[in-house]
């Protein structure tokens, strides 16, 4: 029966393509909602916010291509393209902002003031708080990264956590300046499109499940063989 044959192929789309993309978009939306872009200077891109194809296990890319080939006129192809374009734009804007912050006197002045305050208060606050004067050249890059990623607090074992958890909010406030508007716009546009894409995929998964009698997630012991 063609229907039976098709159902296995549909199961491959759901389990290997649609579900991983939905799960990744959920995670992406959660990160975007908190403002954590996971943007890393050494990568020049967001670490956890990726293109759609990267959300699929590379061993399943043939199923991903099969899914795209069978849905040439669906909302998914333009939706995926738009998502990937938004991610690229976000990466570019974050990189430009990072570069700007490193040469921005207003930011470096604020950072110097915060570091000075930290060094003056450090010993009296906690003898374990490390001196940062020896790592001063690394601090601006870390601070710019944490501001871009809206890192409100850092885990205690991070090298500048004592400084950041004490005075980082004064630097996080730079996010309210007009220079950050482009970044916020890109993030919001990506979140809006990712949310629509996720809904469209969930809706399509439901219709596939109904039409082909394929569960939305694999059920142990339930086979498609009869």
């Amino acid at each position: 029966m063609p229907q039976k044959k098709q159902s296995r192929r549909v199961a491959a789309w759901i389990y290997a393509v649609i579900n991983p993309i939905i799960n990744s978009l959920e995670r992406e939306l959660s990160l975007l909602d908190s403002g954590n872009l996971t943007w890393r200077p050494h990568l020049g891109r967001c670490e956890m916010i990726r293109t759609i194809q990267e959300y699929v296990d590379s061993a399943q890319w043939p199923n991903y291509q099969d899914f795209l080939a069978e849905h040439p006129n669906s909302v998914f192809r333009p939706g995926f393209d738009q998502h990937d374009s938004d991610v690229r734009t976000l990466n570019t804007v974050a990189q430009e902002l990072f570069n700007r912050m490193l040469s921005w006197s207003k930011f470096s002045d604020a950072l110097d003031v915060a570091l000075g305050t930290y060094e003056r208060q450090r010993a009296s606050l906690d003898p374990q708080f490390p001196m940062l004067v020896h790592t001063a050249k690394d601090v601006p890059k870390l601070a710019a990264e944490y501001v871009i990623n809206n890192a409100q607090t850092l885990p205690s074992h991070y090298t500048i956590s004592a400084f950041w958890n004490l005075l980082g909010k004064e630097l996080i406030a730079f996010r309210n300046l007009p220079e950050f508007q482009a970044l916020h716009r890109c993030k919001d546009r990506l979140a809006e499109n990712s949310s629509k894409l996720k809904q469209a995929l969930e809706s399509y998964r439901l219709s596939l499940s109904r039409d082909y009698d394929v569960p939305a997630a694999p059920v142990p012991g339930l086979s498609f063989e009869e």
Binding site: P20, N23, E26, R27, S30, L31, N36, T38, R40, H42, L43, E47, M48, R50, E54, V56, D57, A59, Q60, P127, Q128, P130, L154, P155, S156, H157, Y158, T159, S161, A162
Partner: protein, 166 residues
């Protein structure tokens, strides 16, 4: 007068696989929302235990491990979440750079062969690193009781993760 352990206690923290894996998994689950990995967390099950561990780590001036430990962590995590390999590697890089982690290279041929045959190359690399840093007041953190016992026999301070987070 009580001497502050932060000043007079161990200065170098040496990570075995278990505690590092837990740190990376905790970040993956709670910061990056890899919910599928939640079941893999064996020790850091609460925010307070994570907080206690990070504060403990922060009290050491130097944090280090061995490439053998890194290889063991990566293989365990990669087996756990195949489709997230790239993301998990990114997390390991971020965690290492954020905490200022160092690595001490130890060649296999410089490790005692009988000890490697007995407890494995990863454990021996950690023990040897502990011996290297013994003069700097090192402490090995592990979840492996056999390694902890071997460290103590060799005169290297070692502590179980449970003692830190309990």
């Amino acid at each position: 007068m009580t001497l502050s352990p932060a000043i007079f206690g161990p200065q170098v923290l040496i990570f075995d696989t278990g505690p590092l894996r837990e740190l990376v998994l905790y970040s993956a689950v709670h910061t990056l929302k890899f919910d599928t990995l939640k079941g893999q967390l064996r020790h850091l099950r609460t925010a307070s235990s994570y907080q206690r561990l990070t504060e403990f780590i922060a009290s050491f001036g130097k944090k280090t491990t061995t490439p053998h430990v890194v290889a063991e962590i990566s293989s365990k995590i990669i087996r756990t979440e195949r489709k997230g390999q790239s993301a998990i590697w990114g997390l390991i890089y971020t965690e290492f750079s954020s905490m200022g982690m160092d690595e001490g290279v130890l060649k296999l041929l410089e490790m005692p062969q009988d000890l490697v045959a007995d407890i494995g190359a990863v454990d021996v690399s950690v023990l040897e690193l502990g011996l290297t840093f013994r003069a700097h007041k090192s402490l090995v953190i592990s979840i492996d009781d056999a390694l902890i016992a071997e460290c103590k026999r060799a005169g290297v301070a070692a502590q179980n993760l449970w003692e830190v987070i309990a």
